[in-house]
C-alpha cells in the first residue's frame, strides 16, 4: 500500500468487498426485521439467504470475470491493508465455502419458528464475516479479531433458544471452553509477538527461517507459545484433546446452528491453522519441526477417538458431533502432509464436507422438528415416512463414510493420496482403518432408515420448499463433487500452493 494515499486502491477494496457486502446485508436484515409484521417473519430469513447467495455470486463473479484475486500475484502483492489480510485463492475458496454454508443454513432455519428473528440471521452473517477474515487474515492481530468475531457470534447462536435448557447449557459450555481456549491462544500469540517483535505471520515466518533469529535459550518459550496456539486452533477445529465442547455444543445447539458450527466454523479454523503452519510462522514446515510431530499425534488421536466414540452414541446430533471430530482428523492428514497437494486436498475435503454435513443436519432439523427429539430412533423407517429426506440423508452418510460415487470418497482419496505422496503411507493406513470404523456407524443410520420399521410410518414429515431447495442443493453438490471433482480439485490445488510461499 502506498502510505501517502488515504484511499484504498481498487485491489484493496475488492479484497474486502465480500465483508463489506456482508456488513450491508446485516444492517439490511436488522432493518427489515423491524418493519416486518409477525405473520411474515420467515421473510427475514429469505432476505439473509438471498443476500448471501448474491454475495456468493459477486465473489465468484469477481474470480470468473476479472481473475480477482489474481493467482499469479507475488506474496507481497497479495498482502493487503498493510499486511493485515492476504487476498489469494485460499481466501476465495474458503469464502465460497462460508457463503454456501450460510446460505443453506439460512434456508433450513427459515421455517424453524424459534429462529425466525432478525438477530439470529444477523449473527449468522456476522459469524460469516469472522470466518471470512479468518481465512484472509495474515496478521496475528487480524486473526485474533476475526476468530473472536466469529466465536462470540457462535456462542450466542448456540445458546439462542433461551427457554430451552439444552440450548443454554450448550451455549455456556461452548462459551467457557471457547473463551478459555482463546485466552490460552492469545497468550501464545503475545509470546510470539514478544519473541519476534512482529505480528505479520509471513514476516515472522521469514524471520524464523533465518538461523539464529531466535536465540537458542528462548527456544523453549517459542515451543510453549506454539503449544498454546495449537490449543486455540485445535479448539476451533475440534481436534482431540481440545474437543470436549463439541458433543455438548452440537447436541444442545439449535440444529441449523450445529450445521453451521460443524462446517463453516471448522473450515475457518482449518484455514487459519493451515495458513499459519504451512507458512512456517511457528517453525519451518518440514518433518523435523516439533509442531509437526505434535500435529501428527493430534491427527491420529482425533481420527481414532472420534470414530470410536461415535459408535456408542444414541443421539444423532451427538453421533454427528463425534463424526465431525473424526472428519477433522482426516482433514488434518492433508495438513501434516505439508505439501501444496495435501493442503489442496484438505481444502477440497472441507468444501465437500460443507455440502455433506449441511445436508445431514438439514435432515436432522426436519426430522427432529416433527418428532421433538433427536434420538436415533426417530430415524427408524424414515425411508417410508419421508423417502426424499431419507435419500438426502443416505447421500450425506455415504459421503461421510467415503463410498463412491459421492464427494466424500473423492475427498478421502485426495487426502490419502497426498499422504502417500509425502511418504506418510502409515498415516494413510491409519486413516483407511479409521474410515472403516466410520463406515460402521454411518451404515447403522442407513440401517435404521431403510431396514428398520417404526410405528409411525404413516405420519409423513412435512418439508418446506426452502428446506427442500437447501437439501437438493447440498445433495447436488455432493454428487457433483463426487463425479466431476476435476475442476474443483484443480482449483484447491492451485490454492494449496499459495499456502507455501517460502518453499519451492
Amino acid at each position: 500500500m502506498n502510505p501517502q494515499s488515504l484511499l484504498p486502491s481498487v485491489p484493496e477494496f475488492l479484497a474486502i468487498l465480500p465483508e463489506i457486502s456482508l456488513v450491508i446485508l446485516i444492517v439490511a436484515v436488522l432493518a427489515y426485521d423491524r418493519i416486518l409484521k409477525p405473520a411474515e417473519r420467515r421473510r427475514v430469513g429469505l432476505l439473509a439467504a438471498w443476500g448471501s447467495i448474491v454475495i456468493l455470486l459477486i465473489t465468484v463473479g469477481l474470480w470468473v470475470l476479472f481473475r480477482e484475486p489474481e493467482p499469479n500475484r507475488s506474496l507481497v502483492e497479495s498482502l493487503m491493508w498493510g499486511g493485515m489480510i492476504r487476498n489469494d485463492l485460499i481466501t476465495l475458496i474458503f469464502r465460497v465455502m462460508f457463503l454456501v454454508a450460510v446460505a443453506i443454513v439460512s434456508l433450513i432455519s427459515l421455517d424453524v419458528p424459534a429462529l425466525q428473528r432478525g438477530e439470529y440471521f444477523a449473527l449468522l452473517l456476522s459469524a460469516t464475516i469472522g470466518f471470512s477474515l479468518m481465512a484472509a487474515g495474515s496478521d496475528m492481530i487480524m486473526l485474533f479479531l476475526a476468530i473472536e468475531t466469529a466465536s462470540i457470534s457462535l456462542y450466542i447462536l448456540t445458546g439462542f433458544l433461551t427457554d430451552d435448557r439444552r440450548s443454554t447449557e450448550a451455549g455456556i459450555k461452548y462459551f467457557v471452553y471457547g473463551a478459555f481456549a482463546s485466552a490460552i491462544m492469545l497468550y501464545g500469540l503475545s509470546l510470539v509477538y514478544g519473541i519476534t517483535a512482529q505480528t505479520n505471520i509471513y514476516v515472522i515466518a521469514s524471520l524464523v527461517a533465518q538461523s539464529g533469529a531466535i536465540p537458542p535459550e528462548i527456544n523453549g518459550l517459542f515451543l510453549l507459545a506454539t503449544v498454546m496456539i495449537v490449543a486455540g486452533f485445535g479448539f476451533k477445529i475440534s481436534a482431540v484433546p481440545f474437543h470436549f465442547w463439541t458433543p455438548d455444543a452440537y447436541e444442545g445447539a439449535p440444529a441449523p446452528v450445529t450445521a453451521f458450527v460443524s462446517t463453516a466454523s471448522k473450515a475457518a479454523g482449518f484455514a487459519v491453522t493451515i495458513r499459519v503452519f504451512a507458512a512456517g510462522a511457528l517453525g519451518a514446515p518440514n518433518f523435523d519441526s516439533e509442531w509437526w510431530a505434535m500435529l501428527v499425534a493430534i491427527t491420529i488421536v482425533t481420527m481414532t477417538l472420534g470414530n470410536i466414540l461415535a459408535i456408542f452414541q444414541s443421539n444423532i446430533k451427538r453421533m454427528l458431533a463425534y463424526s465431525s471430530i473424526a472428519q477433522a482428523g482426516y482433514t488434518l492428514i492433508g495438513l501434516v502432509a505439508l505439501t501444496p497437494d495435501g493442503s489442496g486436498a484438505a481444502m477440497f475435503y472441507l468444501l465437500m464436507y460443507v455440502f455433506t454435513n449441511v445436508a445431514a443436519f438439514g435432515v436432522v432439523v426436519l426430522v427432529s422438528r416433527e418428532t421433538g427429539s433427536d434420538d436415533m430412533q426417530d430415524f427408524y423407517g424414515l425411508s417410508r415416512r419421508a423417502p426424499y429426506l431419507a435419500l438426502a440423508m443416505l447421500f450425506a452418510l455415504l459421503s461421510l463414510g467415503g463410498i463412491p460415487p459421492t464427494a466424500g470418497f473423492i475427498g478421502k482419496f485426495f487426502i490419502f493420496k497426498a499422504a502417500v505422496d509425502a511418504g506418510l503411507w502409515w498415516l494413510a493406513l491409519i486413516g483407511v482403518l479409521n474410515a472403516f470404523i466410520g463406515l460402521y456407524y454411518y451404515l447403522s443410520v442407513v440401517k435404521y432408515m431403510y431396514l428398520y420399521r417404526s410405528d409411525d410410518e404413516e405420519e409423513r414429515i412435512p418439508v418446506s420448499r426452502a428446506a427442500s431447495v437447501a437439501l437438493a442443493l447440498s445433495v447436488l453438490g455432493i454428487i457433483y463433487l463426487g463425479i466431476a471433482a476435476g475442476p474443483a480439485f484443480e482449483w484447491t490445488r492451485q490454492a494449496g500452493a499459495a499456502f507455501f510461499p517460502f518453499s519451492g
Binding site: P404, V432, F436, L443
Partner: protein
C-alpha cells in the same frame, strides 16, 4: 459403445423415477420397464460381442477420456478376452434375475428395480474399467444396491447379513485403495496398461501390493478363510439377489485376480501361487463337507459356491493357459448353474415359504417338469460330462496338473481337487434325493403346482447355455484364447527374468 451399454440401465432408472411426475406409476409398469431395460442391455452386450475381434489379444472398443486431469485419472473403458464373457454373463444373469423377480417382490417395488438396474450398471463398469480409480469406484458402487437388496427384501436375518456383507467387502477394498494409491503415484497414472508397462516402478513393493489386492478379491471370491460372509448373504438375500451374488458379484473377485494381480505383479503371483492354491483346495473340500451338514437348501447351494469358486481360484493360480481358460469358463458355468439353482430354490420357496429339506420329499410327483429341470442343473453343477460344469472343471484340473507354478508335484493339488468333484456329486445328489425323491407324504407338498410358462422360460434360458457350453465349449474358449495366451506369456517372461 461400452459406455452406452454400461450406463444404459441408468436410462431405465430415470424412466422409472419419471413415472411419478407423470402419474403413470404402477408396479406393473415398473416391472416392465426394468425387465425391458435389462433385455435391451443384454442385446447391447450381444452387439458388443459382434464387434469384438477374438484374434486381437489386446484391449478393444476403447473409450477413453481425461477425467481428473491433475492426478491423471482417466475414464477408460475397454473389453478383452478376460472380460468379454463376464460382460455377457452379467447382462444375461441380470436379465434373468430381473425377469425372475416379477412375482417374488411384493413391497417397495420401485426401489427394488431401481437398485437392480443400478447394480447391473455397476457390475458392467467393474468388468470394463481399465483405470484403477474408475474400477474402484464401480467396485465400491456395487456394494450399495446389493446392501439394500439384501437388507430390505431379504430373509429373516437380513439386517445382520447385509451389514456383514458390506463391512466385510469394505474391509478388503480399503486396503486395495491404499495399494492403488501407491501404484498410481509410482507411475503417475492409474490406467492398467500403462501400469503394466511401468511395472518396474513398484516391483520392489509388489508382494505387499499383491496382498492388498488379493485380500480384497479373496473376500469377494470368497477364498477360504474369508468366506464367512457368503452363506449369510446368500441365504438371506432375495432370490434375484442370490442369483446376482453367485452369478456375477463373486466373479468380480476372480476377474480381479486375473485382470490386476497376474499382469501387475507376476513375480508375486508366482510366489503366492502355491499358498493360494492350497487355500483354494481347502475351500473346495471345506465347502463340500459343510454342504453336507446343511438342512437349508439355499444354504447348501451357498456353501457349494465356496467349493466351486475354489476350483476357479486353483485354475487361475495354475498360471497356465488351460488353468486360466478353465477358470474363466468355470466362472461362467458357476454363474449359470448356481444362479439357476438359486432361482429354482426361489421358485419353490415362493410356493412353500420354507427351504428346510425335511419339509420336502417326493416333489417329483407333484412337479415333474420342475424336478426334471432341477436334476439337469444339479448334474451340471456337479460336473457331469456333456454339461457345462464338466468342461470347466476338467480344464482346470488339466491346467493344475501341468502347472509349473505349483511346484514339482502339481498332481497333488489335482488329486485333492478331484476329490472335491466327488464330494460335490455326493452332497448334491443327496440333496436332490431328499427333496425330490421318496414318498410325497406332506399334504402341503401334494398341493404344489408345477412351474408356469414364465418360470419355465427363465429356467430354459439358463439351460440353453448350460447345455451349449457343455457340448460345444470351443466357441467360448476361442473368445479368450488370445488374451489368455498373451497374459501367460507375459507372466512367463517376467518370471524368467526373476533373479
Amino acid at each position: 459403445m461400452l459406455t452406452f451399454m454400461t450406463f444404459f440401465p441408468l436410462i431405465g432408472v430415470a424412466l422409472i423415477l419419471l413415472l411419478k411426475p407423470f402419474n403413470r406409476e404402477s408396479d406393473e409398469l415398473i416391472k416392465r420397464i426394468a425387465t425391458g431395460t435389462s433385455i435391451v442391455t443384454f442385446i447391447l452386450s450381444l452387439v458388443v460381442l459382434g464387434m469384438y475381434n477374438r484374434a486381437d489379444p489386446g484391449l478393444q472398443l476403447v473409450g477413453r477420456a481425461v477425467w481428473i486431469d491433475v492426478l491423471n485419472i482417466q475414464y477408460y473403458m475397454a473389453v478383452d478376452g478376460l472380460s468379454i464373457l463376464m460382460v455377457l454373463l452379467t447382462t444375461l444373469i441380470s436379465m434373468l434375475a430381473t425377469a425372475g423377480s416379477w412375482t417374488g417382490i411384493e413391497h417397495q417395488v420401485k426401489q427394488y428395480f431401481v437398485f437392480m438396474l443400478l447394480l447391473e450398471a455397476g457390475m458392467l463398469g467393474v468388468f470394463l474399467a481399465q483405470d484403477l480409480f474408475l474400477f474402484y469406484i464401480f467396485w465400491e458402487f456395487t456394494l450399495v444396491p446389493m446392501y439394500f437388496l439384501i437388507g430390505i427384501w431379504g430373509g429373516a436375518r437380513r439386517v445382520y447379513a447385509s451389514i456383514k456383507f458390506f463391512l466385510y467387502t469394505m474391509a478388503g477394498s480399503l486396503l486395495m485403495l491404499l495399494a492403488i494409491l501407491y501404484m498410481g503415484l509410482s507411475n503417475d497414472t492409474f490406467a492398467v496398461p500403462e501400469l503394466v508397462a511401468g511395472r518396474s516402478a513398484f516391483a520392489a513393493a509388489q508382494n505387499w501390493l499383491f496382498l492388498g489386492f488379493a485380500i480384497a478379491f479373496a473376500i469377494k471370491v470368497p477364498l477360504f478363510p474369508f468366506h464367512s460372509w457368503l452363506p449369510d448373504a446368500h441365504t438371506e438375500a432375495p432370490t434375484a439377489g442370490s442369483i446376482i451374488l453367485a452369478g456375477v458379484l463373486l466373479k468380480m473377485g476372480t476377474y480381479g485376480f486375473m485382470r490386476f494381480n497376474l499382469p501387475l505383479f507376476p513375480e508375486a503371483s508366482v510366489t503366492f501361487a502355491p499358498t493360494i492354491a492350497v487355500l483354494a483346495i481347502i475351500g473346495i473340500i471345506y465347502g463340500a463337507i459343510v454342504s453336507f451338514a446343511q438342512t437349508d437348501v439355499k444354504r447348501l447351494v451357498a456353501y457349494s459356491s465356496v467349493s466351486h469358486l475354489g476350483f476357479v481360484m486353483l485354475g487361475i493360480f495354475s498360471l497356465n493357459n488351460l488353468g486360466l481358460q478353465g477358470a474363466i469358463l468355470q466362472g461362467v458355468n458357476h454363474g449359470l448353474s448356481t444362479g439357476a439353482l438359486f432361482y429354482l430354490v426361489g421358485v419353490i420357496y415362493e410356493k412353500r415359504h420354507t427351504r428346510e429339506m425335511s419339509d420336502f420329499g417326493g416333489i417329483w410327483r407333484a412337479m415333474p417338469i420342475f424336478s426334471a429341470l432341477t436334476l439337469i442343473i444339479t448334474l451340471s453343477s456337479m460336473g457331469l460330462p456333456g454339461l457345462n460344469g464338466f468342461v470347466g472343471e476338467f480344464t482346470i484340473l488339466m491346467g493344475s496338473m501341468g502347472s509349473e507354478a505349483l511346484g514339482p508335484y502339481p498332481w497333488i493339488y489335482t488329486a485333492f481337487a478331484t476329490s472335491g468333484v466327488i464330494l460335490a456329486a455326493i452332497y448334491l445328489l443327496w440333496m436332490f434325493q431328499r427333496v425330490f425323491m421318496g414318498p410325497l407324504d406332506n399334504p402341503e407338498n401334494q398341493a404344489l403346482r408345477d412351474v408356469n410358462w414364465g418360470q419355465l422360460a427363465i429356467i430354459l434360458s439358463f439351460l440353453v447355455f448350460i447345455v451349449w457350453i457343455g457340448i460345444a465349449p470351443s466357441g467360448y474358449f476361442a473368445l479368450m484364447d488370445e488374451t489368455v495366451a498373451a497374459l501367460v506369456r507375459s507372466i512367463g517372461s517376467a518370471v524368467v527374468a526373476m533373479p
